[in-house]
């Protein structure tokens, strides 16, 4: 598991995840990913297009960063989720408590409209 990130639209952070969000993948990136996602911009987009597998340890990290951002007045949204990964988020109810969009363009529009 790895990730890249960049500032977009001046105020938003776009993080692109790649690989398997399982026990091993999560261990590889958890600390740095959590730190990056909750210490820079208030609006964070997590591009999930490169995530081919999601398990409960990956969900844990998504919950952690979303709660972390919320506590500082920010928000995390997910975008471009692969179908089977989306099924896991839906089955666990996470898709109703972390906002998610089919495309990253929609995610960007949403966060720009929030003026965080």
């Amino acid at each position: 598991m790895n990730f890249e990130y960049e500032t977009i639209e001046e105020t938003l952070l776009n993080i692109k995840l790649k690989g398997r969000m399982d026990l091993q993948g999560n261990q590889a990136i958890e600390l740095e990913f959590t730190s990056v996602a909750t210490s820079e911009k208030l609006g964070v987009i997590v591009d999930m297009s490169g995530v081919e597998f999601l398990a409960s340890m990956g969900i844990k990290t998504l919950i952690t960063i979303t709660k972390g951002q919320l506590s500082r007045g920010g928000e995390v949204v997910l975008c471009s989720i692969q179908p089977l990964v989306k099924e896991i988020l839906t089955t666990t109810g996470i898709s109703t408590i972390i906002k998610n969009f089919d495309t990253c363009e929609e995610a960007i529009s949403y966060l720009k409209g929030k003026s965080l």
Partner: protein
């Protein structure tokens, strides 16, 4: 019926070997994408629980995964000689809000959702978890 087995040590680097083995099993039996995902998921969640709860010292420990495949079903049996741990007694409910979202127990929640049968037993000092997946 076909049988595949892998024996593993509870070291993080073994997870790479486990994932490679699972991928090869899915390819060998031409499992559908969804079935492959569910198979990898339920094993991932069970193995995560072994890594987190089964052993309380720094020694290496063995555990085994045996997969029985028939045209209709996949039966997965995972055995470890760790501390008695019945994963079925730990479960989280679906979180209703971010505030009360807890991850502990979500693994078992997912296993229960995607298996058609699930049993735990303690046999000869081993934890034995049996999970059944439908192939259709």
């Amino acid at each position: 019926m076909s049988v595949e087995q892998i024996d593993l040590i509870d070291k993080p680097e073994e997870l790479t070997r486990l994932n490679s083995w699972l991928s090869s099993v899915c390819d060998k039996y031409q499992l559908a994408d969804t079935v492959s995902y569910y198979l990898e998921l339920v094993i991932e969640e069970a193995v995560t629980n072994i890594f987190k709860y089964a052993f309380d010292n720094d020694k290496e420990h063995l555990f085994s995964i045996i997969i029985n495949l028939t045209p209709d079903k996949i039966v997965i049996r995972i055995e470890d000689n760790g501390l008695p741990f019945d994963p079925l007694s730990h479960q989280a409910d679906k979180p209703e809000s971010l505030e009360n979202a807890k991850v502990g127990g979500l693994g078992i929640f997912l296993i229960k959702k995607f298996t058609s049968d699930l049993k735990y037993s303690r046999e000869e000092e081993k934890n034995c978890l049996t999970m059944v997946l439908d192939r259709t």
